[in-house]
Amino acid sequence: MFTTIEAHHLTRVPDLLDQMFRLRKKVFADQLGWDVDVRGDHERDAYDDFRPTYLVWCDPSLRKLYGALRLMPTTGPTLLYDRFRSTFPGSVNLVSPAIWEGTRMCVDTDALAIDHPELEPSRAFGMLLLALCECALEHGIGTMISNYEPQMKRVYRRAGLQVDELGRADGYGRYPVCCGAFEVNHSVHAAMQESLSVDLPVYRKMMPNQTYMPLVEGARATTREVAVYA
């Protein structure tokens, strides 16, 4: 399942987060050789301390992680704005409540090979992108900006996503790192679904076990009934 984990969930899914930080170390520090903050087995930086939202791909029990990315609004402190501003100030300076930044996007190919052997890595990445598109649509986000290595552009295209490269910079890893933007709307979503041959929504919001339901019939609702509603 694909869902979002917000700051108030963090203590409830410690395993998932631990796996995410380990995966990020494996992918960004060990494999891609990016100049990132490694703390023990984790890749974790100051932006994680700001308690961002994570879009995660995990099993339904929320125990096993397959992929993740970090979401931050461009109105607040963001990694791309802070780190890439000096490299290409012309482009990576977008600020709007409808423009969000997605960084540290990665999938765990080892975990997927065990649990979903039929899924090839580029399609797995595409599924995570589709979930990102749905999550953005759901929350009124019209543009996502992200950083990636040039070869990922093909993966984006195969997922039916048109990414506009805003700029690229050397010196972060072995390859240049690009910063790109993609549009989110219903036709982009339809194109992605078609490219990936998916016809049902993949993303769903994390709903609590017990929710506050509108107490329309407040006169009749009792504490117990409210709990049962959920």
Binding site: H8, N93, S96, G142, M207, A221, T222
Partner: protein
Amino acid sequence: MLVFPAPRRVNASAMRGGAQPGALKIPPSCDRNFLHACQAPVSEFKVNFTQFIGGFVVDERGHTFADIHERISLLPTVEDAIDAFRSHYGVAHTTYHLAQTVMDRLDSPFVRTTYPSAWVSRYLQRNYVKLDPVILEGTIRSLPFDWSELELKPEAVPLFLDARCHGLGASGYSIPVVDKRNRRALFSINSDLTGESWRLLIRSHAVDWAELAYVIHKIAMRELYGLEPDHLPLSPRELECLTWTARGKDHKEIAIILGLSNHTVLGYLKSTRFKLDCVNLSQATSKAIILRLIAP
């Protein structure tokens, strides 16, 4: 920093109540048998369903988003702004809550709300802030959320029932605000609508409301710190796009001139407009010329 309220204003530790005496009928105090006293108040407000006319979203009174954006951004105080928002969209109540993060995330917040004063006092008396999931979750969430997504602990159930007894609407939607200095605020909308009509209202306004939440946040910064907030610097690409707009080019033409995609140009223009606090591009270009940012 604790801001002392003017007499009519209400400012208190993390509350979701407010001072609009007489705005709604307040049911009698319903301490014990509050379940029986709970009657969903019939809203005197109607929803403004919008329609598209010539590419602009126009509500039933002929106002566009540009009108309400401009009107709110010119208001001097958050109290005026949240009230203007409420009457424009016909929602039951609105609240702006700045979580001041110096010591603790709930340390002496700045709150303005349109909730009835009886509810505000109740909220404070009962110290509901300790239970209120809108505040507990909302000040650390970052995506906008419907109150039906909140975790409702059993001990918080009486809070919601009590809120209904005090004339609060059944539904709610909150927009977290985060600025470049990492200040966090929460703008909340409370409504009597439920079900599909409530979802429709959110769906049709979510993008505009997110933008207005930031307009209100800027008013709060001005009210609290007495400073006209600095505009975020425009990037060279944004300035280029704006210059071509001032020369009469639309985004498709600019995309061809600069060799970018339409969507990228739209992204730069959206960001430019936000940074200059403008509702549309004509306003943004004239402001940029006045500020001597561009010389078309």
